[in-house]
C-alpha cells in the first residue's frame, strides 16, 4: 500500500463510522467519478448521474473490503469501472445489442499526419467544446484511458489495476486513443474554420 496515500485515512475513518469521512470522500471524488462514468457510458447517456451514485453506494458498502494493495483512488476507480460494466451489461441486455469488446488487446493504429496548430488560436471555451465533442466520438475504452492518463495523471500501472487489464493493453490503448482523438479533433477543427 502507498503509505502516503492521502485518502487512506479517510476511508479508514469511514469504516470506523465517522460520518464526516464519507462526505469528504464525496467532495474529493464526486466530479472525477462523474467524468469517469461519462467517459465509460457516454456523455449523452441519461444514466450518468445514477451510475455515479451507484459507484458511491458501492464504495460505502465495500469500504471495509479495501485491503490497501493499491491507492484508494485506484480502488475507487476500479469500483467505478465495475459499476459501469454492470450498467452496460444491463443496457445491452435491454437493447439486445451486440457486445462491444472493450478490454481486448488492440493492434496499434497508424498515427495520422495531422497538425493541430489551429487549436492554439481558439478560445478556451471553444477548445473545451471541441475536445468534449471529439472525446464523445471515441469508444468508451479510449475515452476512459485518456481521461485516466491525461486528465487524472494516473500511471500505466494504476490504470491497468483499475481496468483489470495488462499494462501492455493500457499502452496500446493509449496510443490508439490519442491517434483517434487527434483525428477527431483535426476533423472538427477543420470543420469549425470558416
Amino acid at each position: 500500500m502507498a503509505a502516503d496515500d492521502p485518502d487512506a485515512p479517510l476511508l479508514r475513518a469511514h469504516v470506523r463510522g465517522d460520518p464526516q469521512a464519507f462526505g469528504d470522500l464525496l467532495d474529493r471524488y464526486r466530479s472525477r467519478i462523474l467524468h469517469l462514468v461519462r467517459c465509460r457510458v457516454g456523455a449523452g447517456s441519461l444514466w450518468v448521474e445514477d451510475v455515479a451514485q451507484d459507484v458511491f453506494v458501492q464504495v460505502h458498502r465495500k469500504a471495509g473490503t479495501f485491503e490497501g494493495r493499491s491507492t484508494v483512488k485506484t480502488w475507487l476507480y476500479a469500483v467505478a469501472i465495475n459499476v459501469c460494466r454492470d450498467h452496460q451489461r444491463h443496457q445491452r441486455r435491454a437493447t439486445q445489442a451486440a457486445p462491444v469488446p472493450v478490454d481486448s488487446v488492440e493492434p496499434l493504429a497508424d498515427l495520422t499526419d495531422t497538425s493541430l496548430d489551429p487549436l492554439e488560436q481558439l478560445e478556451q471555451q471553444e477548445r473545451d467544446r471541441l475536445v468534449r465533442d471529439a472525446l464523445d466520438r471515441l469508444s468508451p475504452a479510449h475515452r476512459t484511458v485518456l481521461y485516466m492518463r491525461d486528465h487524472e495523471d494516473m500511471s500505466y500501472e494504476q490504470i491497468a489495476d483499475a481496468l483489470a487489464v495488462p499494462v501492455g493493453t493500457v499502452r496500446s490503448r493509449l496510443h490508439n486513443a490519442r491517434a483517434a482523438l487527434a483525428d477527431a479533433l483535426a476533423t472538427r477543427v477543420r470543420g469549425s474554420q470558416p
Binding site: F22, G23, L26, D27, R30, S31, L34, H35, R38, A43, E49, A52, Q53, F56, V57, H60, R61, L108, D110, L111, D113, T114, S115, L116, L119, E120, Q124, R127, D128, L130, V131, R132, L135, L146, Y147, R149, D150, H151, Y156, R171, L174, H175, R178, A179, L181, A182, L185, A186
Partner: protein, 159 residues
C-alpha cells in the same frame, strides 16, 4: 530508427514510459524527421487539450443528497433486518414455550391452546391450518396482525 518504429513509440515517449535507450533513439529520430516530429507535437497538443478540458459541472448538493439518501436507506435496511429477524424468532420461541408449558400442566387441551389466540374466521377455515401450523397474534414489526408460523410437528398436536 525508422519512422514505423518511431511512430509506435511516440505515445509512450510522451508519457516518459520508454527505456532510456529507446527514448534516446526516438529523440534522435524526431530531430531528423519532420513528419514524425509533427506527429509528436500533435500528440502533445492532444494531451494538453484533454488536460485543460473542463467538463460539465454537476450540482454537487443535489448529487450528494441523493447519494447520502441511498446510502442511508441501504444502511438502514442492513441494520434493521438482523434485529427484526432476531426479535421475530424470539417471539416465536416464547409463544411456543408458553404453549408447551400449558400443555404440560394439562389444564389446556390441544384444541384450546390453539383457540386461545384470536383467529380470524376466514383463516380458521383454511384446511390443514392447525396441522403443523400455529396462528400467532404478534407484531411483526411491519404491521400488527396475525402471522402464520410453521411449527415443528407435534408442537400443536401435543405428540
Amino acid at each position: 530508427m525508422n519512422c514505423a518504429d518511431a511512430v509506435v513509440r511516440l505515445s509512450a515517449a510522451l508519457d516518459g514510459d520508454l527505456a532510456a535507450d529507446d527514448a534516446g533513439d526516438v529523440r534522435r529520430h524526431l530531430d531528423t524527421c519532420e513528419a514524425c516530429a509533427r506527429r509528436y507535437r500533435t500528440l502533445q497538443q492532444v494531451r494538453t487539450a484533454v488536460r485543460a478540458a473542463s467538463f460539465a459541472p454537476v450540482d454537487a448538493q443535489r448529487f450528494d443528497a441523493r447519494v447520502l439518501e441511498r446510502v442511508h436507506r441501504d444502511g438502514r435496511a442492513t441494520r434493521v433486518s438482523g434485529p427484526l429477524m432476531a426479535a421475530a424468532a424470539a417471539l416465536v420461541i416464547a409463544v411456543s414455550s408458553a404453549v408447551l408449558m400449558l400443555q404440560e400442566h394439562g389444564g389446556v387441551t390441544q384444541r384450546s391452546a390453539v383457540e386461545s389466540v384470536a383467529v380470524p374466521s376466514a383463516l380458521a377455515e383454511v384446511p390443514g391450518l392447525y396441522e403443523g401450523r400455529a396462528l400467532l397474534g404478534m407484531d411483526c414489526g411491519l404491521a400488527t396482525g396475525t402471522c402464520i408460523v410453521d411449527a415443528p410437528p407435534g408442537l400443536i398436536a401435543g405428540n
